[in-house]
Each structure stands twice: as C-alpha cells, then as structure tokens.
C-alpha cells in the first residue's frame, strides 16, 4: 500500500490528479425508476473494450489476403491455444455491443435525454452507433467465408444505387468492380485503423460530454429524483456498473463456449450465392424492408426509393434534438415519443420475423 501511495503522490505532483478524483467523488447519479437505463452506455463501453483486446489478439495471426484470410482464421480456431475462445468472444462481443448500443440509444430517446443541452452527446452517440455497424459490416468479410463474401457483395451493391456518386462509392468500397482480395484488404484497413481512430475520438468526446453535463433526469421523473438520495458516482455507481459488466462477461463467456462462432466454407467468387443469404441481424430490418418494395414504383427503382427513405429516416433520427422543439423546454412531444415507439416496434418486429423466416 505504501508503494501505491508513493506512486499516487508522484503522479499527483506531476499531473495534478487530485481535482479529477475530487470531481469523481462528488459526482452524483440521480435515482429514479428508470435509473437502470444509465448502465447500458457503460455496458456498450465494456463490450467495446473486449473488442479492442480480442481484436489485438486476433491480429497476431490474421492475414488479410484472399488467399490466406480463411486459412488464418481456421488456424486461429484450431491450432492457436484458446484461439477458438478469442475469435468466438470477438464475434459474440461485437453483436452484444451493438445490442447494448441499441438499448442505450432507445432508452436515451424514449426518456427524452437528447434534449438541449445534450444535442452533441446525441449526435456523437448516433455516429458511434454508425461506426459500430461499420465495424460489424467490415469485420463480417474478414474471415473470407461464403456467407460473408456474398453478404458483402449484396451490401456493397446497395451503395451503387446512390444517385451520382453510386458507381464511385461502389469502386471505393470494393477496390474495383467486384468483391475481391482488394475489397478484403480495404475492409481490413477500415476495421483496424480508420474506424478505431474515428471511434476513439468520438468516444472521448461522448464520454467527456457526459461527465461535463452529468446524467439527464427526464422531466416527469424529476420529482422522484429529488425525493430519492442520489448515488455517488465513485464508488457506488462504479461498483454497480462493475456488477453489470461482470454479468455481461458471464453471458459472453457462456455464448462463446456453448455456441462457438461458425467459420463456414471458404469464399468461392465463381460459385453461385448460397440460398437464403442474409446480412448480420442488425441490418435485417433494412434488408427485409427493401425486399418488400416493388422493383419499380412510379417509374423509379424500388431499391432507390427504399434507400432514400432510410436516408431521410436516419436524418430525422439524427436531427431529433433540433426537430423536437418541445424537448428543449423540458416537455415531451407526443409525436416524437410515438415516433420512437414506432421505430422500435418496426426494428424488433422485422428482425424477429426475419429470423422466423416470415419474409421467405
């Protein structure tokens, strides 16, 4: 203990850390019947940390070329000690991270926490979710197996529908006209360099804003929060968050051990696409909706209309702190609340129905 004290003193003397600790010990987390929502941002952060750690371990053996990618992942899961566990944890943790991020985003939305002065926090969070989905999309191709190859072909093909810039975007993403080894190398670059760099910056901003502005208390819960004693951030909230993280770790370990992530067959660009090919679950709502749109609507390509609608929907969702003017005055807009529940119902129902094979 004496050693730790000496180390602390040395650091504090040089970096003036005492005010930070002072801030953390005096920081409080309000308590009300929806306080559970405060833990999902932290849980998402925990899974992100797991991703970084397991991703670095996978990098030690992974080779990002069309010739060697599949074999290197095969080597990881069959020959490298605990390689199967690291790969499985990486894949499961990616999915749990996106699930936790979705829960976090909807809880923030439905409790109206995006309202002024937290617009920047909402926007940075929105972009972070976009980056997480980008991580998922780019990482899905890296094992270079049959499913990932064809899912990437379909996914990247959608970008070609973008007016004017479509063909350029397609070539930029694929590194050519087709999904090839060049696409794999490029996706690897996005996955391990570009996206982590952007995420680190945005994450820093997001966390900094939360610390600076404190936790939001919804207007209708303000009275309850006033009557209940708030939690001290350090150590009470941090320890509770620790319990949630441990629970997340237990779920992750159980999934990785009982349901190891499948590797499938190596991608064959000359083979025909396997039947019933689908993207990752968090893209299903979009994938299935696009399938339901007729090939042409009023002479315009159906897929283009669908993608346009998703782009407009995404923009509305992004701009909701500005569009929902009532929220700035601490009031809830029934319209935006209904919109939130409607979007949630759409996402959940389309995802579940897709898993149940209702769209085949």
């Amino acid at each position: 203990m004496r050693l730790l004290d000496t180390l602390w003193k040395a650091l504090d003397e040089r970096l003036e850390l005492a005010p930070l600790v002072e801030f953390a010990t005096h920081k409080e987390v309000p308590q009300h019947r929806h306080s559970w929502a405060y833990y999902f941002g932290g849980l998402t952060l925990f899974f992100f940390a797991v991703q970084v750690a397991t991703g670095i371990l996978l990098l030690l053996y992974y080779r990002p070329t069309a010739e060697a990618a599949f074999e290197s992942v095969q080597f990881i899961v069959t020959r490298v000690p605990f390689g199967w566990l690291v790969r499985s944890v990486h894949s499961w943790s990616a999915n749990l991270m996106i699930l936790a991020a979705f829960v976090h985003m909807f809880s923030v939305y439905l409790l109206g926490s995006y309202a002024k002065p937290r617009e920047l926090t909402w926007w940075s969070g929105f972009l972070l979710l976009g980056l997480a989905m980008g991580f998922g999309f780019s990482g899905y191709l890296l094992p270079w197996n049959e499913l990932s190859f064809f899912a990437t072909r379909i996914g990247t093909d959608m970008t070609s529908k973008v007016p004017l810039a479509g063909p350029w975007l397609l070539t930029f993403l694929r590194g050519g006209e087709e999904v090839t080894g060049a696409t794999l190398t490029r996706f690897f670059g996005f996955h391990v360099a570009v996206l982590p760099m952007l995420s680190a910056g945005l994450l820093g901003l997001h966390l900094g804003l939360i610390q600076r502005q404190g936790m939001h208390v919804p207007g209708h819960l303000a009275e309850e929060a006033r009557t209940r004693k708030p939690l001290r951030f350090l150590p009470n909230f941090v320890l509770r968050e620790g319990v949630v993280w441990l629970f997340g770790l237990a779920v992750l370990a159980a999934l990785a051990a009982f349901f190891p992530w499948e590797l499938g067959n190596k991608a064959d660009p000359f083979a025909s696409a396997p039947a019933g090919i689908k993207p990752e679950w968090y893209f299903l709502f979009m994938f299935e909706a696009l399938k339901l749109i007729p090939a042409t609507v009023l002479g315009i390509e159906g897929e283009l209309i669908g993608l346009g609608a998703f782009a407009v929907g995404g923009l509305v969702w992004f701009l909701v702190p500005v569009l929902d003017r009532a929220s700035a005055h601490g009031r809830r807009s029934r319209l935006f609340l209904a919109l939130g529940w409607g979007v949630l119902a759409y996402l959940v129902s389309f995802t579940v129905l897709s898993f149940l094979g209702a769209f085949q």
Binding site: Q74, V77, T78, N236, V243, F247, A250, A253, P260
Partner: protein, 452 residues
Amino acid sequence: MTPRRPGPACHPGNRGPRSTNDPRAAVVRLGTLAIVAVALGAAVAAAGPLAASVVGPPGKSAADRCTACHRELDEARLQAPALAVGNDTHHAQGVTCAGCHGGDPTSDEPEVAMDPKKGFLGKLEPTQVPAMCGSCHSDASFMLRYAPNIPTDQLAQYRTSKHGQALAKGDVKVAVCSSCHGAHGVLPPSDARSPVYPSRIVETCGACHGDATLMARYGIKGDELAEYKKSVHYAALTQKNDLSAPTCNDCHGSHGATPPGISSVSNVCGTCHLTQRERFDESPHKEAFAAIEQPACEACHSNHAVLSPSDAWIGVGQGQVCGSCHAAGDAGAAAAESVAAALARMHERLVAAEARVKKAERAGMLMEEAQVKLEEAHQGVVLAQVEIHSVDPARVETQAKEVLAAAGVADGLAAAAEGEIRFRRTGLFVSLAVIALAMVALILKIRRMERA
C-alpha cells in the same frame, strides 16, 4: 445431308411400287433399291465441283427459293420443312434444300425448281437416306471445310449395325440417319435440343425400342427403355445431370449400333469400370463364366436395369447374387461369407466414427481433419467393393484394414474433440463461478457501504 451432284443418276428411288404384299412388287422394289444404291454410289464417287447454288460457302446461311415458296404453302406437310430450316445446321452452313432433294434452288418456277431433269428427287426413301447423308459425311476432305475433327466413318459403321444390315435386306422400318438426327431442322449432337444429345437419346432410341409390338418382329423384348430407367446410369443422367453417364449408344454404339455379345460385355462395361474389369479378368470367374456362357458383369448387375450395388448382395442366401451358382458349404459360399464379414466390419466402424465426428461438429468443434480421414475411409470402402470382383477374400481384407485404420484415426480425433469440449465446459463453469463470486462480493460490498 448431301450437296447433290445434279445428274440423271440421282433420279430413281423416289418412284416405285408401294404394295408390300405383292411378291412381284417386292422383287421390283429390291431391284429399285439396288439401282438407287449403285446410282448414289456413282454420284458420290463422281468428282467435280459442287454447284454454288446448291452448297454455298461454309459459315454462310443458304439462300434458296425452295424455302421461300414452301413457307407460303397451305399443306402443313410441305410447309413444315421450310419452317424448320431456321434451326438447321446444314442450312446455316450454306447447304440448300437441293443439297439432299436435288432440283434448282434458284428458280421461283415450281416446274423448273422441281424438274427431275435438274436432279430433283422429291422425298427420299429410307433406303436412300444413309448413302445420301454419307455422300458428304463420309467425304473427309469435304467435311474438313466444316468441322475438321468430325468423324467420317458413320456410313461404314452404319452398314455394320443391325439397323444397316436390316435396311440392306429391304427392311424400311429400321432406323436410318434421319430417324435419330431428324430430317429437317437437324441440330449438332452437342446442342441440348438435338434428339441425340445425351439427355435425350434415351427417348430417341425408346421411340422404337420402347414399342414392344414393333420390337417383337425382331425378337427384342421392348422393355429395355423401362428397364434402363430403373438404373443408376439413368438416375445419374437425369438427377445429377451427369452427361457422361452411359446411355444406349455408349454400350451399343451409335452409328454401328449392335448388342454386345456375351464375351464382350466386360469390355463394354470395362470402358468406364476399368478396375472392376481388371479384377474380374484376374479372377477364377472369368473362365468359369465363359465355360457356362454366362455374360460377365450382366450376370450379377443386369444389363439395362443396372441397380445401385449393395453389400447385401454378397452371399448365397435368398436374393443374394452368389447363390445363382454357389450353394452353402462350397468354397465359393465360404469366400462370399468372408468378404461379406469384412464389408460389414468396415461399415460398422465407419458408421460409428461418422456419428462421433458429427456429434463433435454439432457441439461446435471444427473436425476437418477427421472429415479427411472419413473421406479416406469411404474411398477405401469403394476400393474394397472393387476388390469383390477379384472374389479373393484376402484382397478385400487388406483393403478393409486400411478402412478400419482411417476410421480409427477419425474416431480418435472425435474422442480428442470430446475431451476438448469437456475441458471448455469445465473452464466455462469455473469462469462463471469466479464471475458469480466476484458479483456477489461486489453486491455485498455495495450493500455494506450503502448501509454505513
């Protein structure tokens, strides 16, 4: 089809007596046939350039007036050939109607175009067809202009066939070139729409050979088509789309179609099943079968209804093939028993190893190495089944040992995978216990802290 050499020699043949009951008519007809054959032979042998109006340059579609007029005719029988030329390979290569039918293809006047003096033959008699087609297709230097690799011995082969021999005797019911390839709208055999394309040839032959009444006059049962459709060969052709699967012409020949004799059966089957043939030739069965005039492969596997072979066939019991010649207690029955026992051992071990490997795969383990060994074992089983044709139990046993060894390795890998699964589950439970303990400790700590 033939680019005609116009001339009087081509005329006879499309006129003649029709009554088949009148013996005098038969004599006249045979005489006419002989004249036709001689005349056509002379025409074929005649040297000289081909009329450009009859056969155009290769690769350029034929231009003639025949099709233009016949398209406008009301009588379907006369209109149909003109409508069919769109697909016809000969027409596409510059051969006009006059190439086979004679006449003047440049004239719009029917009297001129179909003037017998200009070599017009009209509809060809079956007896005229082989020589007519052969006049081009047997001419190697002529065919070189169209398809350098095409065989030019079809006519010679046809004359050796049962069809050709019967035709030479005046039987006009037998197949001639147009019976299988079609007369108008002839497609290359490589075209999937051609009646001689592998997937369609069975029905083409079956048009006659599936007709028991017609076949009765030749002493043929007429059930060959139905029998063939039960076979593994037909299943491979139609279900797996395997165009290399044998059809009628692969065993009987196409132009020289004839049934293989008893002594030739193993040669015919052996063209594909090489090793089985080798083993059979080395076996004591070869001489024994020859002595009792038993066809080699057909004795156990049948001829047209070649079923998927089963290990259960080995033995002298009811429904087992060895029992046709051997009886319980003799040396053959003992060898069969020994072979059957080795096959059963292999299967038992292989099935058990496969089940264990599959179980490990279901539990999420990658079992690629085990799958390679199982594949090796499966190939070993096939080789052991090939060795059955040697009727030597020692050879089957040697192969069985290799199968058992490969299945044993796969089984060992599955056992190791099961151990790994146990280790992972134990590790998971230990980890979960540690995590749960940490959670409980944290909760207790929080409670104590908040109470204070």
